[in-house]
Amino acid sequence: MSSKTLIMFSGDLDKAMAGLIIANGAAAMGDDVTMFYTFWGLNVLRKAQKIAVRKSFMEKMFGWMMPRGAEKLGLSKMNFGGMGASMMKGIMKKKKVNSLPELIKSAQDLGVKFIACTMSMDVMGIRKEELIDGIEFAGVATYLGEADQSNVNLFI
């Protein structure tokens, strides 16, 4: 058995999907998969609902400006203020491509390990309670430890 590690840096819908399709595929090939979500990528793991937590003014601002969860992400290209993302989601639904939330659920069911970068969380004022359940919280050393064991490592 081999393992794969993915650094999920992007908060774009298309890139988040690409990473999760690879993660699901790798898990279905019998591999251990670790996804390390950092910086903008953390937005993918935010819960859709607003969670009441104490935040500074700047942290609140960040929270308002960034997409709250997998349903709210935009495309990296041709987003047109969200219209592009809506159209893309419509097309994907029609073509029966799994949605981003479905891909996350599937990956979790297959045992893909989700790690949220605690340093990025601190910088962006994102609290543990605001992220989806079933994920781990760690730093770069944990990711590097996993990457050492892996034979494919992607930065998305």
Binding site: I21, N24, G25, A27, A28, M29, G30, K95, K96, V97, N98, S106, L110
Partner: protein
Amino acid sequence: MTEKFINARGLQCPGPVVELFKVAKASQSGDVLTIEVTDSGFKKDIAAWCKKTGNELVSLVEEDGVTKAVIRKG
């Protein structure tokens, strides 16, 4: 030996291999799994999946846009 059938028609990548993996995981060595898929990439994917997971691809046929693969669990 048990025979199992998976209808993965309409599922897009990576749906078919995910479904196949789940069923294979719950199967015994020697079990025969038949899967039907409409995703056109599956024809190549199934060979790679079998090689990687140590299962045997017994047959692979395509008819009217449906790929039918028979796999024996290794």
